[in-house]
């Protein structure tokens, strides 16, 4: 069990903010941390890693990492940290990056094999692609068999195919090492695929905490099919109004009534839902 009860005053881009988080995490859980940028997600990870100080307590499996009086140095916490920008040691080869953490050749070669990097073990980081670099970074984080694996948007700089591949590898490593994982992510499909629990932060506070299904599936009442998007325009065509809504990367047209059109404002967030028919799913 990991028990977190911390608070810290932050001076962010949006003014002063209180980061105030109370969270109990079961050992072996995979938790996704979501929320708008500037909501304190990265700071929370850095506090857990001991890279930033805060008030309050953190205990991991009965061991006190931080209380009112003292705080364990990052060196003494058993954590792995995966940075968004990889942060590999540029002067060391792939294998040396891993061995720098722990001189355990067997573990290093096992990790490199799991992530299909064995062939690249003597390469320097500057010669690797983004996906390869992030894999090395992931392996490096696992080298001290962390009790807590912290990942700060590890996949956001990668293309979708590489993301999917790395998501599988992250899940495989998480299970293989039985570590507890906390990962910042904005991608709903990623969260759904990986996490057992989603914690949503807003303005330094937890505003939502539950299973990915409960939190990410934005249907309400009897609506079975619902998307959130931004209202771009309302166009009058003869006697009807057509609303143009951007949902993800796609634009859709929805017919709205006279009254509805008047109640809507361009630029608003809207949800488009239907319940009257069964949507058909076809391969594209």
């Amino acid at each position: 069990m990991i028990q977190i009860d911390i608070n810290k005053k932050l001076h962010g881009a949006n003014g002063e903010m209180d980061l105030c988080v109370r969270l109990d995490i079961l050992q072996g859980d995979f938790i996704a941390l979501a929320g708008q940028s500037g909501s304190g997600k990265t700071t929370l990870l850095r506090i857990l890693a001991g890279l930033e100080d805060s008030n309050g307590t953190i205990s991991v499996e009965g061991e006190i990492w931080q209380d009112g009086k003292s705080s364990l140095m990052p060196q003494k916490r058993k954590i792995g940290f995966v940075f968004q920008d990889y942060a590999l040691f540029g002067n060391m080869s792939v294998e040396q990056n891993l061995l720098y953490v722990q001189k355990d050749r067997a573990l290093a070669s096992k990790l490199l094999e799991l992530t299909q990097l064995s062939q690249l073990k003597d390469r320097m980081p500057s010669t690797l692609s983004g996906g390869q670099k992030q894999r090395v970074s992931l392996c490096r984080a696992m080298m001290n068999r962390p009790q807590l694996l912290l990942m700060d948007e590890p996949l956001s700089a990668l293309d979708p195919t590489m993301r999917t591949k790395l998501q599988q590898e992250i899940l495989a490593l998480h299970k293989e090492f039985g570590t507890t994982t906390l990962m910042v992510s904005h991608d709903p499909s990623e969260i759904y695929r990986l996490a057992q629990r989603v914690v949503v932060l807003n303005w330094g506070k937890i505003i939502n905490d539950g299973t990915p299904k409960d939190i990410l599936l934005k249907t309400s009442g009897s609506a079975k099919f619902s998307f959130e998007g931004e209202l771009l325009d309302i166009v009058q065509v003869d006697v009807i109004y057509v609303a143009i809504v951007a949902i993800g990367q796609q634009l859709v047209e929805v017919v709205v009534s006279d009254d509805e059109a008047k109640a809507l404002e361009i630029g608003q967030s809207v949800s488009v839902s239907t319940k009257a028919f069964t949507p058909r799913l076809k391969r594209v």
């Binding site: 890693a49 890279l51 140095m73 990052p74 060196q75 003494k76 916490r77 954590i79 792995g80 940290f81 940075f83 920008d85 942060a87 590999l88 040691f89 540029g90 002067n91 720098y100 953490v101 722990q102 500057s126 490096r140 080298m143 001290n144």
Partner: protein, 229 residues
């Protein structure tokens, strides 16, 4: 040409290089923690330390030399302490030159190292701490190897700058052959007694060597930058 070089005394050059070598070594050890501190600190005192470190760049060497002379002479507590307690005389000898050069060349070691450390991705250093490594190991195994061009610049420019120093050396050391008479002082003396031939030869040697040193720094840095892209 050969006859001209025949009667030449190379002692001053050897002395210059000995002085530069020892100064560079001492400054490297002093500047490493100082530059690291300056690169990592958010303290309000940072500008104060930075200004103090950079002072030798803007001060006339005679001013610096004068204060060092006063501070190290037997009429000052520091000079008395060194002479009476440790038995070391600090002015008009080689030891005094080393002390003076360390002050004079300090910014040339600290500044490149500091900006090198500042340019390192902070996450890389944090990754090293998380890997369980302390500050010293992180500096030696992660920070320094990742700022090789800055490290090379710091060492070589400090060395070259010490070889080229004149005013401070003359103030603190005078011109005692094989003790404090370095190449730049020797040239000054040749000009004073109007021995232009020797002044020419000495000066030419200084120009060529300085150029070669700088050329090697720039070539090395160019190569390093390409390999890091």
């Amino acid at each position: 040409m050969i006859e001209m070089l025949d009667g030449l005394e190379f002692g001053p050059f050897l002395l210059s290089f000995k002085l530069a070598g020892i100064t560079t070594l001492i400054l490297f050890m002093i500047s490493l923690p100082l530059a690291w501190y300056l690169s990592q600190t958010h303290s309000k005192m940072k500008p104060f330390w930075e200004a103090l470190t950079a002072l030798p760049i803007v001060l006339p060497p005679s001013v610096l030399g004068f204060y060092i002379l006063v501070a190290l002479s037997q009429s000052s507590p520091i000079g008395v302490f060194f002479e009476d307690v440790l038995g070391i005389k600090l002015v008009f000898n080689f030891t005094g030159l080393v002390v003076a050069s360390c002050f004079y060349s300090l910014p040339f070691m600290v500044q490149p190292l500091q900006s090198g450390f500042e340019s390192i991705n902070k996450n890389m250093l944090e990754a090293s701490y998380i890997a369980g490594k302390g500050k010293m190991e992180t500096i030696l195994k992660v920070a320094l190897p990742n700022i090789k061009p800055a490290l090379m610049s710091a060492i070589i420019v400090t060395f070259a700058h010490t070889v080229g120093e004149f005013g401070v050396v003359l103030m603190v050391g005078g011109s005692i052959p094989n003790e404090t008479k370095v190449a730049s002082v020797a040239i000054y003396e040749f000009v004073e007694v109007m021995d232009y031939t020797k002044a020419h030869i000495y000066s030419a040697i200084m120009v060529i060597m300085s150029f070669l040193v700088l050329l090697s720094v720039y070539m090395f840095n160019g190569k390093q930058k390409r390999s890091f892209v």
